[in-house]
Symmetry: C2
């Protein structure tokens, strides 16, 4: 039996093995994912993002418990920074959410940010698909950080929760504005801290200022204290309300089309680049170009055009790279 | 006279115009960059990164003043989150560093994170090259956030300063470990705050634990209060010490080779992807694939292989995408 078949039958060890193969960029993983694909699309994906120190891990832990109490199986994909010492993820699966470690309805996987060739957003999508095929009803994707990469990652989620925290300093206005677009639900965590009400008010005001089109989802700002478990039920309810909205309004169709297109184009982009590397591996093109750049006798733009022409022949329709 | 020629002659308006064209992904910008390329490679590039709220902007402002007082011309490329309202950068060139606004030796440019096709790291490199050709001695690149994208951006810098701040919460250990590799100089800013000594000590300990190869640079941890200007001279001196090390040790050669290779491959990757989009624009491939994914009758991995085969013909050496 292939790994994919075992995953579809609910084999957790096969799922872990396949995720490792994805992480390691093994060619066999692609063959397994092809087989897995028809069995995906059932899970509801929730993205959790926000600046460091906002308490996202604790919140994810509480959300997991909340969905479990509703009888849902929960997968968690946590994007961890890579350790420079071990090459692996720092926080690790083990020290995360110990209380769920004996629960077969919870599957937790840390993804290191060591940057697979395809980028983190593609491997996150692929790992999420494995959890989906394994039968997880809910897949929570938790990112660390607030960069462009994180935005790309949470775009794959049906519902994105942006977690803020009171008093993060000067950059906060800028961050808030930058992430207003991607949030379906906003959470001010550590709500017992000074400034929680102010942060909540500011976020609400900024959201009201948006010129959202008629009939679009109206994001709320909720307060939580994840450490004490307070506000979690309200957050779960709001996530489910957003899910209901997606389906009732038909917004889901557009969302899925865009997500599928992005996924396909990501895979295509990787494939092209791998082919280019293999194409150049046959001669000393890369070395010559890099040396020429060093002496400024070759510019990288013209060099790329030459390689494109060589690779694509008449098929190269665009001269400008 | 082309824009590139005007830039090389020190024409600031031409530089601003070319940067706008780069931002807008205009094909003409590539032609200008080709001309500009031989005139680049003179500027010393400093990357400033760290979590939100660390006071990076203020620190950049102070560093600018410090290098100006040494008679150096300073360019600043600030990566700003994109406003969902205007589509442009939020902080903007104008409200940044007002005190340098009448100084012709300072050129400040905000880059929005709205994600050009080529990604932020490529447009940052291109904009930095314009500043370089314009005659800036120092180019400071400031990122917002601590994601993978930010790491890629600061890889283009000769010297990377990682700015930390006391008491950022639970995630801090993870972040610190994740960025240890990329920092040449570490700064604990807002050093008047509680916990500054502890953060400094922890960072120092973690750096000492690294198994750095013999003869490699030994990063220091400095304390600053950017708001008051304290510790800035020491920071400038440390940056210059790192520059001296790069050249004296010969490490610079390897650094430049790797940077040039990354730049070339970034451009090639973009060019390939643009060609793929143009290739598919001729028929309904993309629509068919996305629809097939929706009904799970087509998987994106196989679909990408078909497009690759069509585009590359016999030249496709790798089946796995």
């Amino acid at each position: 039996m292939t790994l994919a078949e075992q995953v579809v039958q609910g084999n957790i060890r096969a799922a872990a093995r396949l995720m490792r193969d994805i992480d390691d960029n093994r060619p066999s993983a692609v063959q397994e994912l092809k087989q897995l694909y028809p069995h995906t699309g059932q899970a509801y994906i929730i993205g959790i993002t926000g600046p460091p120190g906002a308490g996202k891990s604790t919140l994810v832990d509480q959300l997991t418990a909340s969905f479990r109490s509703r009888g849902q199986k929960v997968g968690v994909v946590a994007i961890d920074p890579t350790s420079p010492f071990t090459g692996g993820a720092i926080l690790g699966d083990r020290i995360r959410m110990n209380r769920h470690s004996c629960d077969e309805g919870v599957f937790i996987r840390s993804l290191a940010t060591r940057g697979a060739l395809g980028g983190l957003s593609r491997s996150t999508t692929d790992v999420g698909m494995v959890m989906d095929a394994l039968g997880m009803d809910i897949v929570i994707i938790e990112t660390v950080g607030v960069g462009q990469d994180e935005v790309d990652i949470v775009k794959a989620a049906h519902t994105t929760c942006v977690v803020m925290v009171p008093g993060l300093g000067d950059d906060i206005q800028a961050i808030k504005a930058g992430i207003l677009e991607i949030g379906d639900v906003f959470v001010v965590n550590k709500a017992d801290r000074d400034g929680a009400d102010r942060t909540t008010r500011e976020l609400t005001t900024m959201l009201e200022m948006r010129n959202a089109p008629e009939g679009s989802w109206n994001p709320q700002v909720l307060k939580t204290e994840a450490q004490r478990g307070s506000g979690i039920e309200e957050l779960t309810a709001e996530i489910l309300a957003h899910r209901d909205f997606l389906f009732a309004s038909g917004t889901i169709d557009n969302f899925l089309r865009e997500r599928n297109q992005r996924h396909f184009l990501d895979i295509l982009r990787d494939g092209l680049f791998r082919n280019a590397l293999a194409f150049m591996a046959g001669d000393d093109t890369l070395t010559r170009v890099v040396e020429g750049m060093g002496s400024r006798s070759i510019d990288p733009y013209s060099a790329a055009e030459v390689v494109l022409q060589d690779m694509l022949g008449n098929r190269a329709r665009l001269a400008d790279s």
